[in-house]
């Protein structure tokens, strides 16, 4: 009888320890997603430059924004899609403040650009739409070599931050 009672206590203790371990496990998993992978969406131009088309890819969540931009710069893997960012483009730094993501690019984004209203909107919205998939980002501001710009290649007003454009996406 006494033995049976002891066994019950031990069982109860084991259950409590398991519950605590489980809670700690959950907690650790939720609060420390340090270097995990995450599926993100990149937007590239379709072959006629009429619309942007999504391509999914996995990136490391450490420096998520920079990794995402770097994948965008690499260009599409899917057949029939075109890159939207010219050769030689580098992201110098990124800053998120009050929902506005300020991206500082090197001058290649402007100098190596192929031009055209269509070319410019494809480039700009591939970046804006890709980055606003993250709910904490509402606007994207373009900076070139630390300077604010009037336009990228002579059409769009880039003097202020831009919000997402869903009309240009073909799903």
């Amino acid at each position: 009888m006494k033995f049976k009672k002891n066994a019950t206590y031990i069982l109860l203790l084991i259950i409590i320890i398991l519950v605590i371990a489980f809670v700690l496990f959950l907690r650790y998993n939720i609060s420390a997603p340090e270097d995990t992978e995450k599926e993100i969406v990149l937007y590239f131009s379709d072959s006629g430059a009429n619309n942007l088309v999504a391509e999914k890819r996995k990136v490391s969540t450490k420096n998520l924004y920079k990794n995402t931009l770097e994948e965008l710069i690499k260009g599409p893997r899917k057949e029939g899609l075109n890159r939207t960012i010219p050769e030689g483009v580098e992201v110098l730094n990124i800053k998120l403040l009050d929902g506005i993501l300020r991206i500082n690019f090197n001058e290649s984004l402007q100098k190596n650009h192929w031009g055209g209203s269509t070319g410019e909107t494809m480039t700009v919205y591939s970046i804006v739409n890709t980055m606003t998939q993250f709910v904490e980002i509402d606007y994207v501001e373009f900076i070139i070599e630390d300077k604010k710009i009037e336009t990228l290649v002579g059409h769009m007003d880039l003097s202020r931050p831009l919000s997402r454009n869903n009309k240009i996406i073909n799903e």
Binding site: I30, P33, K38, S45, S47, G48, A49, N50, N82, R83, T84, P86, W114, G115, G116, S117, T118, G119, T121, M122, V135, E150, T151, V153, G154, H155, M156, D157, S159, L162
Partner: protein, 349 residues
């Protein structure tokens, strides 16, 4: 948030098809309602001890009225949260807009102050058979009005022209894109956009000069003019319309065709202008019709008059670059742009 939500709830109601949930990442959960049609929504949050209750109310209401007064016309925009039936009519100097079956009375706080040519704005709620919410704009005499609602059905756009202007008194600004150290796009065999734009613009000027007295070019030579300066030239001149001339490019050679841009916040008369330009260009050049697009472009956004930007053809496309290098094609394009402008002016009279 734990992951034990019901994945999908079938609703099959008039408004809502189903409600589904999905996990976005570790600390975000998305709840999506698939609606039968475009319907407005309002979010209400109530806090009760340590729980929050979110209420989403689906209803169609008039959210915002936006009036822009230009030197010779008035642009009135109504933003609705969903699709709504409406009727516009005129009673001498009064412009009457009837909204049918709004789910909520118009909040009088959103009615703008009467100013400029608007003498008074009145709101009457008529609820006989089906409810009608009537807005009455009392204006100083006006010439005509036009309902120009763009693609999305939840915005009603009305332009009201103030007075008649004689055709030859119209001030027209033609804006050849790029120039100087900014070549614009460059074709595969080296043709530059800036020279094509200027060639077309000069021809448009030649053609229009026969019937119009006031044409201004933002540049007449190969020199750089900032976008801000271009808009400033048109605004200072109090121009009646602004047309920017460009040729297009993309990063690969497959893109082809003609398109025309307007600014999203200037739909009314700018859309009519763009329509005319695009139609004449497509009919006369016979390239792919890429349609009218609305985007945040500098010169068409910051000019205070109806404005459009044409992209005649793709200089990045071999065949179209070849066309753009021929005199006859440049003349055809200029002729079409000039015709579009004249047609617009005549329609507006």
């Amino acid at each position: 948030i734990k992951n034990d939500f019901t994945r999908e709830i079938e609703v099959n109601q008039d408004l809502v098809k189903k409600i589904r949930t999905s996990r976005f990442d570790e600390n975000k959960l998305r709840i999506v309602a698939d609606l039968e049609k475009l319907t407005g929504y309002q979010l209400q949050r109530t806090e009760k001890e340590d729980s929050y209750k979110y209420n989403i109310v689906l209803k169609n209401v008039l959210e915002k009225i936006n009036i822009t007064e230009q030197n010779n016309y008035l642009d009135i925009n109504f933003d609705l949260s969903g699709e709504i039936d409406y009727e516009v009519s005129r009673d001498t100097s009064k412009l009457i807009i009837d909204f049918k079956n709004l789910d909520e009375k118009i909040n009088e706080r959103i009615l703008p102050e009467a100013s400029g040519i608007i003498k008074n704005i009145d709101y009457v709620s008529l609820s006989d058979n089906n409810s009608t919410d009537r807005l009455i704009f009392e204006l100083e005499e006006f010439n005509n009005y036009q309902v120009v609602s763009p693609e999305s059905q939840n915005r009603i756009n009305i332009t009201v022209s103030r007075k008649e202007i004689r055709k030859e008194d119209h001030i027209i600004v033609i804006d050849p894109g790029h120039g100087g150290f900014d070549p614009g796009a460059i074709g595969p065999s080296g043709l530059t956009e800036k020279e094509v734009n200027l060639d077309i613009a000069i021809k448009v000027n030649d053609i229009l000069s026969d019937s119009l007295d006031n044409i201004i070019l933002t540049r007449e030579t190969d020199r750089f003019v900032s976008l801000r300066r271009r808009a400033e030239i048109a605004n200072k001149a109090e121009a009646n319309l602004f047309v920017s001339i460009h040729v297009n490019a993309s990063n690969k050679g497959y893109s082809s065709g003609t398109e025309t841009y307007i600014a999203p916040q200037k739909t009314g008369k700018s859309l009519t202008l763009a329509d005319n330009l695009q139609n004449y260009l497509v009919n006369s050049l016979d390239l792919v019709d890429r349609g009218i697009k609305s985007d945040n472009f500098y010169v068409i956004k910051f000019t205070e008059m109806p404005a459009a930007l044409v992209e005649v053809a793709f200089i990045s496309n071999n065949r179209e670059e070849n066309l753009l290098s021929s005199n006859s094609f440049i003349e055809k394009a200029a002729g079409a742009i000039a015709e579009g402008i004249v047609k617009y002016i005549e329609e507006e009279q």
